[in-house]
């Protein structure tokens, strides 16, 4: 066995020991695994490397923390209850039409920001109560908004994994719109029906218990929705006119949170912000731990061992390697999977339509957001629908994930024919 393979086993063993034997949080277990590999590889404690690794997620942490504050503020203001009440009154009797609509709404923030977390924590939280009122169990509703998160992240116009993969071979992000739309929107509609099948039923608004929400709307009027609309408007303007409105997501969310303090029901803003950050802390800790873990893997050569191992499969098994290794590596980060594995896989797929292949690889990479221990999309979705253990949401995502992988591989396999069709 190579030195790097032994180090990899040591990292996995230390992580498992930290999580299960010592019952440490995931974040600390990842730090423990990193420190163990640092020491075993002769790098000492590697403090500089451990700190440097966490820097890779500073921006992501800010987005998540501020998105959580925004959502808590919107919830406290009563806007979520009001939206649910109105949606159910207008469309509750037609679930077959409502489900795809809710899926597209839940995807929207991801489409314009490229972040699945932004989708799940904003529009996902808006549509989740309506999904549950339609009859979807909490776990299924969580799966619904989690899948909307990753499909939104991949759908055009913004797909950061595809940009990362393209950037690795100097391919501009041009001509991706149609392939990405074809990759994501049919899946989105199919999943919305599949997840609702047998569960969603027409809802009588009078019996749905949405009265308090509608009462809030009668009291405060449309201004209740201004914070959400403001955030959506700032996101869109940030893309359309970045020089004037390119505030970045954290500032956008904080503006939305401030607006929510004035838009509806009064609440203690400081207490809400503290509670939101308290909810976000475990995930922020995991991101810091993951940063250390990746830096250690790269420094010690474990990353090379994993990547070359994935590329060592015979050409006939290349598709299987893509299907397995990219989502698995996504456990540390879907953007990381796009960069570390997506670029070499795209190079191994030379001869196929590169834009379509890169689009499909970005979809497989995005599945990393379902992979524990980070599983950002699934974890936030569980939080939004009030499910204690996110593994219950993950179970509902198994079949959709398999379909996503097969769909993406079909795009790679038939990329030339699909190009002709486009």
């Amino acid at each position: 066995m190579s030195h790097e393979s032994l180090l990899f086993l040591l990292m996995l063993g230390a992580f498992a020991a930290g999580s299960f034997a010592l019952r440490l949080p995931v974040s600390l277990s990842m730090m423990l695994a990193s420190v163990a590999a640092m020491l075993a590889s002769g790098n000492g404690l590697g403090v500089r490397h451990l700190v440097e690794g966490t820097f890779g997620y500073v921006d992501t942490m800010l987005v998540i923390a501020t998105a959580m504050v925004f959502m808590r503020a919107v919830q406290e203001s009563g806007a979520l209850d009001a939206i649910t009440g109105i949606v159910i009154r207008r469309f509750g009797r037609r679930p077959a039409a409502l489900l795809p609509m809710l899926m597209l709404v839940a995807m929207f923030p991801g489409m314009i920001t490229g972040s699945s977390s932004a989708s799940v924590l904003t529009a996902g939280a808006v549509v989740a109560p309506a999904l549950m009122l339609l009859g979807l169990p909490r776990e299924t509703a969580g799966a619904f908004i989690a899948i909307a998160g990753i499909l939104g992240m991949v759908a055009p116009p913004v797909n950061i994994p595809a940009m990362i993969i393209g950037g690795g071979i100097d391919m501009p992000f041009v001509g991706f719109g149609a392939p990405l739309a074809l990759l994501t929107f049919p899946l989105a509609i199919a999943f919305s029906w599949a997840l609702g099948a047998g569960k969603a039923r027409p809802v009588d608004p009078a019996a749905a218990g949405t009265g308090p929400g509608e009462e809030l709307y009668r009291r405060y009027g449309p201004r209740l929705f201004l914070p959400v609309l403001l955030v959506v408007a700032l996101m869109v303007l940030g893309k359309a006119a970045p020089s004037a409105f390119g505030l970045g997501l954290p500032v956008t969310f904080l503006i939305g949170a401030a607006a929510a303090c004035l838009a509806g029901r009064r609440f203690n803003a400081l207490a809400a912000a503290k509670a939101a950050i308290g909810d976000a802390l475990p995930v922020l800790g995991i991101l810091a731990g993951v940063g250390m873990f990746i830096q250690t893997m790269t420094l010690t050569g474990v990353r090379g061992f994993v990547v070359v191992g994935a590329l060592s499969v015979p050409p006939a098994l290349l598709f299987a390697a893509i299907a397995l290794t990219m989502p698995l590596f996504g456990a540390v980060s879907s953007f990381g999977a796009a960069s570390v594995l997506g670029v070499p896989f795209l190079l191994a797929l030379l001869g196929r339509d590169q834009v379509i292949a890169a689009s499909a690889l970005s979809l497989v990479a995005a599945l990393g957001d379902f992979m524990p221990p980070t599983a950002l999309s699934a974890m936030f979705a569980a939080q939004v629908v009030g499910v204690e253990r996110y593994s219950l949401v993950l179970r509902k995502l198994l079949v959709p994930s398999l379909v996503v992988v097969l769909w993406a591989l079909a795009f790679i396999g038939f990329s030339t024919s699909i190009r002709g069709f486009l």
Partner: protein
């Protein structure tokens, strides 16, 4: 009495602060610029802000070494350190500053084109902060290994999507700090765009005939051991590649893609009269397939995982047990610059650039980089 959870919180904070102090000391040390020793050929040391005052006092300002010959002739600008994690370009530029002499024409050298990028490493890349060469007198010279991009301490935050200003092309947000996606730059843009603008002003102000941007690429990248040329620079580049082939140095020639914007060979060629080319040598320490990342990998270029990848047919360059040493990569850049200067004279006698003292490919491969570096000046001298 202090409650138990308060005591444990205080202990965690103390450990975190200690770790922050250790890391901060390392990050601060990384910001100290290397000392280059200008050779007898250097006639003037200027700053990029001389051509674009908007950079004065910013972390983007950087030295421009001018080597002017006694006779008038052509002019060449060499950019090293556009990507400070591609060390061959930086070291080749440093050797020009320390060793080259110009008899005819003028050579402008910017060893640290993205000076800010030298002050940090890319997170999660596990890169060393520097690498050293032994000198014949027993001393060593250390050079900084930096990041592909401007330090976020100097330019932050990144947008989710970077939109290249003059073309509107979209790239992932972190490319907003990539100097070689920022050309021709903007006077009132980000720090990276202002550095690009400064370089464009230098080219226009000095009427630079030929601009060379020195880079490295990973062995699995298709454009490696290659010269990329703007269409107007193609005849000059073709002659240069032919001359290199005659010396036994294999080099492919690639046209600058018209649809990939912000790069030096595209934008400087379009926005100015200069003939813009870019060189890529093979750097295993920046690739995704590499094993252990350390100073030895940077300098010796040996890697067991690239060896395996070569056997699998996944690379675009030959890769054996000998690896691709930094000395060989630096030699490749210097030989290409010398050949390019020679070809300038073939194109037009008035635009000739006569260089001497530039270490040759074979001698630098054999003797190592240290043999051609001057000892560092004593501290305080």
């Amino acid at each position: 009495m202090i409650e138990r959870h308060h005591a444990s919180a205080a202990a965690v904070c103390a450990v975190a602060l200690a770790a922050a102090a250790v890391a901060a000391a390392s990050f601060s040390a990384h910001r100290a610029p290397d000392v280059l020793v200008p050779g007898a050929g250097v006639t003037e040391v200027r700053m990029l802000s001389d051509w674009f005052p908007g950079l004065d006092g910013t972390p983007g300002d950087t030295e421009v070494y001018v080597l002017r010959g006694a006779e008038p002739g052509g002019s060449m600008l060499v950019l090293g350190g556009t990507h400070p994690n591609e060390p061959a370009g930086y070291v080749a530029a440093a050797l020009l500053v320390e060793d080259a002499r110009v008899a005819r024409g003028a050579l402008y050298v910017v060893p640290r084109a993205n000076a800010s990028g030298f002050t940090h490493n890319d997170p999660q890349e596990g890169a060393p902060t520097g690498f050293s060469f032994p000198l014949p007198d027993g001393s060593t010279r250390t050079f900084t290994y930096g990041s592909r991009a401007t330090n976020p301490v100097h330019q932050w935050p990144d947008p989710e999507v970077y939109i290249h200003a003059s073309s509107g092309q979209s790239l992932s947000g972190n490319e907003t700090r990539n100097l070689n996606r920022a050309y021709p730059g903007r006077e009132d843009g980000t720090l990276t765009e202002r550095v690009a603008y400064g370089i464009t002003r230098l080219i226009v102000g000095e009427g630079i005939d030929v601009t060379v941007d020195l880079h490295e690429a990973s062995p699995e990248y298709p454009v490696v051991d290659a010269m990329v040329a703007h269409e107007r620079a193609m005849p000059l580049a073709s002659n240069t590649v032919l001359g290199l082939e005659l010396q036994g140095i294999g080099m492919s020639l690639e046209p600058s893609p018209k649809n990939l914007r912000g790069l030096s060979h595209r934008e400087l060629g379009d926005a100015t009269d200069t003939l813009a080319v870019l060189f890529e040598s093979c750097n295993p320490s920046q690739g995704r397939l590499r094993g252990r990342t350390d100073e030895a990998l940077v300098v010796e270029g040996k890697d067991p995982y690239y060896l395996r990848a070569a056997a699998l047919g996944r690379l675009y360059v030959p890769f054996d047990e000998g690896g691709v040493p930094l000395a060989e990569r630096v030699g490749r850049h210097l030989a290409s610059i010398a050949e390019l200067a020679f070809s300038m004279g073939m194109e037009s006698e008035d635009e000739g650039l006569e260089l001497s003292g530039v270490p040759g490919y074979d001698e630098i491969s054999e003797l190592g980089v240290g043999a051609f570096l001057s000892p560092a000046p004593e501290a305080g001298s």
